[in-house]
């Protein structure tokens, strides 16, 4: 187990290095291909080469390697890595420390993920398990149809329609009926409200949860079905244990192992989903930051966020692997 952990960690560090280099190279290429972003500082207004040079120097895009197509800019990479070691992500193109921007963006995203994860675990797993136990009956078909449908509706469509129908129409009714600061009035609103971070994130959190819930529900169902047929469950039943005890203690616990893995992976996948959710609901989180920075070509912010999210992804998958090794005694690593 110890050697496995060490090997897995080494792999992660290696992967991280390549990811960071890849991102760095892509961004250097982007500047080489699309032109130096310093020019956009002046927009449509004319600017002298001297003025542009001053802006390039201010924002650190004055390295001559950025004018040579295909140059990997290794010097810049070294410098960037050295800065990142000290958690200094540089400044964005408005001159603000990217680290500060990211620190500010973390809490809303964490709350969002807490809500989404609860949706997956509470709603997804419960319906999946219930469907398995009522296999072949109406509820089972309903769950299967429902999950198929959530897969078929693109997330952005769901978000946009909900924002209009729930946030504006239903929300206005709630605010008129119960008052502007009532719980329902705050929950049903079209955008993030920093005075009520949790309540105003409830709806977008649930919608982000809809992203990937189908997979979790279905896996819970099939995993439960497999285990209901498994030998050890049959044995337990044969021993005369009550069916509730069999379900909860034996079947459910074992069925949840693969589900936990999937929750982890879905969480990691949803990092991308936050970009759309936070963009549409104007949530000042990591995804919203990435969304705006990409649109504004604010490269230092983009590279920092993608790098951080990639690290999160790696940590999550690492934890899943380790957890898996602990939970499932059948898995033993060479």
């Amino acid at each position: 187990m110890g050697r496995y952990v060490i090997r897995r960690l080494l792999q992660a560090v290696l992967t991280l290095f390549f990811v960071l280099f890849l991102l760095h190279y892509l961004l250097s290429l982007a500047i080489q291909v699309n032109g130096n972003p310093a020019r956009t500082f002046f927009g449509d207004k004319p600017a002298t080469p001297e003025q542009i040079a001053a802006v390039e120097a201010k924002f650190g895009t004055d390295d001559p390697c950025l004018d040579r197509l295909g140059d990997p800019c290794l010097g810049m990479f070294q410098q960037r890595m050295a800065d990142w070691m000290t958690l200094d992500f540089g400044t964005n193109f408005d001159g603000y420390a990217v680290t500060d921007e990211i620190v500010r963006a973390v809490p809303p995203t964490l709350i969002l993920f807490a809500i989404s994860t609860s949706v997956w675990v509470l709603f997804g797993v419960t319906t999946g398990v219930l469907a398995a136990m009522k296999r072949g009956r109406f509820f089972d078909y309903l769950v299967r149809a429902g999950t198929t449908f959530t897969v078929a509706v693109p997330t952005f469509l769901l978000l946009v329609i909900t924002q209009q129908l729930v946030g504006v129409s239903l929300g206005n009714w709630a605010r008129d009926t119960f008052g502007r600061e009532s719980v329902l009035g705050i929950v049903f609103q079209p955008s993030y409200d920093d005075r009520y971070p949790f309540l105003s994130l409830l709806v977008p959190g649930i919608l982000l949860g809809a992203f990937g819930i189908a997979g979790i529900t279905r896996l819970s169902r099939t995993s439960m079905l497999e285990n209901l047929r498994a030998d050890f469950v049959r044995t337990a039943k044969a021993k005369g244990l009550t069916s509730r005890r069999v379900t909860i203690v034996h079947t459910l616990r074992n069925s949840l192992i693969p589900v936990i893995t999937l929750v982890g992976f879905t969480l990691a996948d949803a990092l991308g989903g936050t970009v759309i959710t936070e963009g549409i609901y104007s949530i000042p989180g990591m995804g919203g930051l990435a969304y705006n920075a990409t649109r504004e070509n604010d490269l230092p912010v983009v590279i920092a966020i993608v790098a951080i999210l990639s690290v999160c992804f790696m940590v999550v998958t690492l934890l899943i692997d380790l957890l898996y090794a602990v939970l499932d005694p059948r898995i033993r690593y060479e």
């Binding site: 020019r39 500082f41 002046f42 001053a54 120097a57 950025l66 502007r180 609103q189 409200d193 936070e278």
Partner: protein
């Protein structure tokens, strides 16, 4: 780098119609549901790029600066210069040396006094090349500007550093005494005072210059409002009335700006009663107009849009080709269809809100006549067999240009392709004269004078503008205007230049943006007025109910 939203781009249209003006929203006071009767005005805003006057370049930052800072002058509703910190208008003998008198008793919110020396220091900071401030360009006409800029880089982008600026102080700006500021221009220009109402000329406190980054987070202003707390990025900016302000005290006690990021706008929140004044987006406009009726105000702005031609390109070097394209555009139909009629047809190069505006300078060339246009084009050498490439930067402008392309295709019998570029790439290609077909272009004013719509855009010789345009008579008339004795003489010369320009048509003017603003039930609708030059709500007149 961010899209510069103050300058006209496709993106800025989004800012102006959606977030930006929503930002300029109004007030809340007494309120329908009882919770808003605290004298607070709640507005929406896009995330500003910067709150330092020296570096503000878009409507969002301008909105905040307008509340927190006070400059020498501002512009009144007609676009005339109105003193704030200054005592009367600038005086001069020769249009080269200008004297500005200051009023006594104004201070910053940290207690520092505002004297002529304050402006000398602030402007030196703004202009100094290594500080790379956006506002530096506004001081170009002042003597000594060039010496403050970085020297030429000896090896282009090579490893050697560009030479440091020769001077650290702007030689043309002097404090004669604590209340007298003397500005010497490089060349006499009667229009100089008109530029002084812009944000870049606002004063900054010593404490602010000593630590610009801190000052950006917690501005030290000198205006009617004082920031409450600090700038909560991507979230909110709150401010309270500053009781010690010596100028006109507004009636609203407190303003809370909520910041919207990405595509989100204040409109849904306005409908939800959480924002007091907001601008509906293009799609919400018709419904909002029907729903809010009199509570919706529509006003002209100084933002103009047009179809720019690459005069440097062989295909578009013939003025008749450009005229044919312009005449093939049904401007009213375009505005009615795409913008639900909310914008104004442009038939001049200068918009109506700008002093020096002359109606109909574009004349026949801006009148829709598909038959004549087709005939005109057929008489030129324009190659009909290849598709016309239309260029735009990614964003809402893609839609605008597509519909223009549809009209051109239908009325001229051409085919078209849309070439969409990212903003840096688009700017680079535009600067480098590499765009091979017409492109969407726009302009918003730096200062209210018709010259601002002419010289920076089409002057400076064929390599000095985006269109590769060179009009000798045009540049001659501009120069005469710049040397004129009085402002009205200058404007007349500029108008003559505009007429000459219109015959050559480097750009086909298409529309002038109008804002639509809906005033919530907590604000007195009669007290609402928007400054057409600054684009901000006149906070002094605004009253809550």
């Amino acid at each position: 780098m961010r899209n510069n939203r103050r300058v006209i781009t496709a993106i800025s249209a989004l800012a102006l119609t959606g977030v930006g003006l929503a930002a300029c929203g109004g007030g809340d006071g007494g309120s329908g549901s009882g919770s808003g009767s605290d004298g607070t005005l709640r507005l929406g805003l896009g995330e500003p790029q910067n709150l330092i006057p020296a570096n503000i370049q878009e409507t969002e930052g301008g909105e905040i600066a307008d509340r927190l800072y006070a400059g020498l002058y501002t512009y009144d509703m007609e676009g005339n210069l109105a003193p704030v910190l200054a005592d009367g208008v600038p005086t001069t003998e020769d249009n080269k040396v200008w004297t500005i008198k200051l009023q006594e008793g104004f201070t910053f919110q940290n207690g520092e006094e505002i004297t002529a020396e304050t402006f000398v220091k602030s402007w030196n900071y703004t202009v100094y090349g290594e500080n790379a401030n956006y506002g530096a360009g506004f001081f170009k006409q002042i003597d000594g500007w060039a010496e403050m800029q970085l020297g030429e880089d000896p090896d282009g982008d090579g490893p050697e550093e560009a030479a440091k600026p020769e001077a650290t102080e702007l030689s043309g700006v002097k404090a004669v005494d604590p209340l007298t500021l003397e500005v010497t221009l490089a060349e006499p220009w009667v229009g100089f005072p008109v530029t002084l109402g812009y944000t870049a000329f606002m004063p900054m406190a010593d404490e602010c210059l000593a630590d610009i980054d801190a000052c950006n987070e917690t501005p030290i202003g000198n205006g009617p409002y004082k920031i409450d707390g600090k700038w909560n990025h991507n979230s909110s900016i709150h401010m309270e009335k500053w009781a010690d302000y010596k100028g006109t005290q507004p009636s609203i006690e407190r303003i809370e700006y909520k910041i919207y990021t990405g595509d989100a706008t204040a409109w849904p929140d306005f409908e939800a009663g959480k924002i007091d004044i907001a601008a509906p987006g293009a799609e919400e406009y018709e419904v909002a107009k029907a729903e809010y009726g009199d509570a919706m105000r529509e006003e002209e702005t100084g933002q103009t849009w047009g179809l720019g031609f690459p005069v440097y390109d062989e295909k578009f070097s013939d003025p008749n080709v450009r005229k044919a394209f312009s005449m093939a555009i049904d401007r009213q139909g375009y505005i009615d269809g795409l913008f639900q009629g909310r914008y104004t047809v442009a038939n001049s190069y200068t918009p109506a809100v700008i002093p020096g505006y002359l109606e109909g300078t574009c004349g026949e060339a801006c009148t829709f006549d598909p038959e004549a246009a087709k005939q005109l084009l057929a008489d030129t050498d324009f190659p009909m067999d290849q598709p016309v490439e239309l260029w735009v930067n990614s964003g809402p402008g893609e839609d605008y240009l597509k519909v223009l392309g549809d009209q051109l295709a239908a009325n001229l019998g051409i085919t078209y392709e849309l070439k969409t570029l990212e903003w840096p790439d688009f700017l680079g290609k535009k600067d480098g004269h590499e765009l091979t077909g017409p492109f969407l272009t726009g302009w918003s004013p730096d200062y209210p004078l018709n010259q601002n719509y002419l010289e920076p855009l089409y002057g400076n010789g064929p390599d000095g503008n985006d269109f590769g345009f060179h009009g000798e008579e045009f540049e001659q008339l501009l120069a005469e205007g710049n040397r004129a004795e009085t402002l009205s003489d200058a404007m007349t010369k500029y108008q003559e230049a505009e007429k000459v320009l219109a015959a050559d048509l480097p750009v086909a003017p298409i529309w002038v943006t109008r804002t639509a603003t809906v005033i919530g039930e907590n604000v007195d609708p009669d007290s609402f007025q928007r400054n057409p030059i600054l684009g901000t709500i006149d906070i002094n007149s605004l009253k809550l109910l």
